[in-house]
Point group: D2
Chain length 207, copies 4
Amino acid sequence: MPVLNDEVPDEGDYDASRRRGEFDNITPDDFIRGSGHGNPPGWMDSSEIDHVRREMPIVYVEIVPVRTDEFGRIDQVGTLLRVGDDSSIERTLITGRVLFHESLREAVARNISKDLGDIALPVLPVNLQPFSVAEFFPTPGVSRYYDPRQHAVALCYVVPIAGDCKPQDETLDVEWLSPAEVTRPDFLAQMPNGHDQIIRQAIAWAE
Amino acid sequence: MPVLNDEVPDEGDYDASRRRGEFDNITPDDFIRGSGHGNPPGWMDSSEIDHVRREMPIVYVEIVPVRTDEFGRIDQVGTLLRVGDDSSIERTLITGRVLFHESLREAVARNISKDLGDIALPVLPVNLQPFSVAEFFPTPGVSRYYDPRQHAVALCYVVPIAGDCKPQDETLDVEWLSPAEVTRPDFLAQMPNGHDQIIRQAIAWAE
Amino acid sequence: MPVLNDEVPDEGDYDASRRRGEFDNITPDDFIRGSGHGNPPGWMDSSEIDHVRREMPIVYVEIVPVRTDEFGRIDQVGTLLRVGDDSSIERTLITGRVLFHESLREAVARNISKDLGDIALPVLPVNLQPFSVAEFFPTPGVSRYYDPRQHAVALCYVVPIAGDCKPQDETLDVEWLSPAEVTRPDFLAQMPNGHDQIIRQAIAWAE
Amino acid sequence: MPVLNDEVPDEGDYDASRRRGEFDNITPDDFIRGSGHGNPPGWMDSSEIDHVRREMPIVYVEIVPVRTDEFGRIDQVGTLLRVGDDSSIERTLITGRVLFHESLREAVARNISKDLGDIALPVLPVNLQPFSVAEFFPTPGVSRYYDPRQHAVALCYVVPIAGDCKPQDETLDVEWLSPAEVTRPDFLAQMPNGHDQIIRQAIAWAE
């Protein structure tokens, strides 16, 4: 029974002890085998989530990781190199779905941890006002943001990274460049479907 | 075949002519009877949406309608009196789900129009940065926001209303009060589950 | 006795009746001739303000006037053509000093009225969080913003204009262009010293 | 020749090496004795600054120091106990004037350092959008903010403090309390003239 990668909490997870309401006594095992009396709450197999993706907007967080100086100014912006679904190399930001019963702060921390490793020491924002809300539509041209799989509403945050990055999973590398370098047209051209616009907005907002 | 009230576009709708991608040639009839070759894309019957509500966070907009003076200061805040699901009278703000392939701006305009009528003349914000993001969980106590039906992520906006209000549908009345009056503890006590907090934040943000 | 143009309230001013504390019984005449027992409070002659400009940061508002559609999206951005101090034509935004005992909202309204006329019908923002704070220094290169006369801290707002514009005073014309047009490099090159950056940030923030 | 306390840079200052344009070769000695050919640029004696305070709005920063948890949520809010001008004990936030040719980030860092000491390790915000702009008028009742000395425009920031606090100068103590405690009416009553409102707004904005 297929389980979406990021749906399975694990004992070693940084937030394994937090309270999750009805999820409190669910173990990863329940997610994989079911709990005897049906699947755990919130469980979605990949065919089901694919189905829902065509039916309602999905909540995402999208994170622009940065290195800042002692005055809070952005020194460097991080972008990720990953293996895409079609095995090509693509440049992205940190992005992920918010799970059922997961707070936005937890989703931000989890997705950073997943891509940059456990010692990245992200400095999460004091307030949750996103610098931008990016609306990805499955129809090209409706907005600057395009995602063929789904209609996603992505809350965008700039998050300073104070620790060390150890790229994880599908992330091959994290490249750190100055604000001037990441906003060069030839660099932004590597980030299609609106992720270039999110970088541009993050830099404009921070300066 | 039951259809959720707000899922059916109608020829007379203010935005009937906008492009909706794969929805372009769908008529309300298709929503009600199906299109012969299955239901239209995005169609959800009430049992299905109830199911999804227990599986993933749902995107909402929550709007604080206000009357402003010539300098943009809030003169009055509007709250709605509605008949709740259990037939009791409840006080609320304007709130609604964002539909598949609907932009946030369209969702804001549609939900205002649904509650306040077609000549409310809302002044939509120039930018979509919400003044707050309210996370409603189905488990009491996880956050200040509680919704027994679902995990909802509500983007909150203050929207000045320049026209006349004609309460519609389940909305019985719109009451306009000064910022000082709506932030009185006894008034806020009428708005449980965190909607009081959204009013409080809106006033604090605007002042 | 020289008096700075924008220091003199006038009976016909849109806000002539507002309360100004110790300024309440001051007439324009007092500003021009003095009140017998010395100059009125807040009075500054041009040599004095020039002196203060080299001693402390001066509070400014800088306004990006826009035309919006029914959904609040920016259709057009207005820029002003003016005769500069050296008689050359320059392209600017609406910008002005906040006066003693004047609120930011009043400064925004007054400066729009001064440049665009009395029937521009600006829609002032509900909250005063600026989309950017531009720090102009008298030393080139310290920041992106340069003003040889002074250190100015400019709170930047996007303000929709709902009425008609009648350029006033030094303003020769207001040109309305689409967001795509005003962010073209050749257009922005006409707005030196950081005003180009304010336009760029306004568009990035609003999209 | 009296010199305002916070006008004198010192060799040991954390930012002694930054470039200050025309201030670059000025020493503290010049401030105190004058440079032979008149006072240094930007120099203001107390009678002069008192005079300017009645003539134009003065730029301030006002900082709400907080302790945050690993998810960026506010755990505690710091308030300062100080000896006021009339020798009474008063409760305040961190607040100070922005100096000529000083950036907002430098003013935020300097004022935190002055009140909390050199090892407070403040985490300055990535962007300078204040959560509120407080307008203090010398006339009571014009706004929620009152300062008998001046018209001040204060840009308000929430700044997490990661290090240790060693109260300095006039600051006797820093008290750390939970958001629920600092927003209790009896506590806020200790912070008159609008500083209570800034705390209230900071908490509402962050939650």
